[in-house]
Symmetry: C2
Subunit: 143 residues, 2 copies
DNA sequence: TTGAAATTGATAAACCGTCTCAAAAATGAT
DNA sequence: ATCATTTTTGAGACGGTTTATCAATTTCAA
């Protein structure tokens, strides 16, 4: 039994519902994806180059977008690139980013999330996803 | 006295500190920028084409990025383009974005901001700025 | 006014992500 | 297992956005 049986099941169910096929590449990419918090297509391309030198970048983009549709991943624009967050394993998280050294700290805060829901419903919105980034100086860079 | 004297002052101070020069183009772009909540470089290019047909797109990009460094603007990646938000005029605000029709609602929430400070200090960070975007469906698109 | 330094405009180039399409692989039926 | 159908893949072309280049122009302090 695979390490990622549950997520593999989610993927297969999505594939089944949409007349899509289960392929070696999709399995390979899902396995690699689930080991990360978040990753870019480019990073994954280099990581997987050793396992399968012929795996194309387009396939990685297509597959990561597929994961988003299947509810396994979430795309997030960060800098100029798109980060694909692994939401199946640890749930959603937000980011604290040091403008001095670039350090990134992940956090979760239920109270903030609850207030977000409040703001949304007050404006008639139903939240699908969100993005919260706090920029500042870490204790090291402040001195 | 110009309508945007305060922000012009902020810009001039930043220019002075960094051995940069005050130019006709920078003044023109700042005036146009401060009239907007948020704008893309391309939109501004077309807006200003009438006032100065020779103003180059590269200059607009350079200048909007300069405003970010001066603390007058904040860049935000939305879809494939970059939105430059005017943060000097109305203070910081966050966004509710409809994934159906693209409608953007601005909001402010002191409670959320307070909790952000809490999270940051718990991690030894001092916040300089932040970005919060809630994506979902507006009441119109939900039906 | 003069001269050093920064800025501009035009365009080339870089970059990210998507599209195209022929070849290959997966699935369901026989 | 084989076949026929449909989807997927890989490689590179492509499109849109942003940055880099560089000669000519402008700013600004002396």
């Amino acid at each position: 039994m695979s390490k990622h049986a549950k997520e593999m099941g989610v993927l297969k169910e999505h594939l089944g519902k949409h007349q899509l096929k289960f392929t070696r590449q999709r399995e390979l990419i899902l396995d690699a994806f689930l080991k990360q918090e978040h990753i870019t297509a480019e990073e994954m391309y280099h990581q997987l180059a050793r396992k399968d030198p012929h795996l194309g970048l387009a396939t990685i983009y297509r597959t990561l977008n597929l994961f988003c549709e299947a509810g396994l991943a979430q795309a997030r624009h960060f800098g100029t690139q798109t980060q694909y967050d692994n939401i199946s394993h640890k749930g959603h998280h937000d980011h604290l980013i040091c403008t001095g050294c670039g350090k990134i700290v992940e956090f979760e805060n239920c109270d903030i999330e609850r207030l977000q829901e409040e703001v949304a419903s007050r404006n008639g919105f139903t939240i699908q996803t969100h993005r919260l980034e706090l920029y500042g100086l870490c204790s090291h860079c402040r001195h």
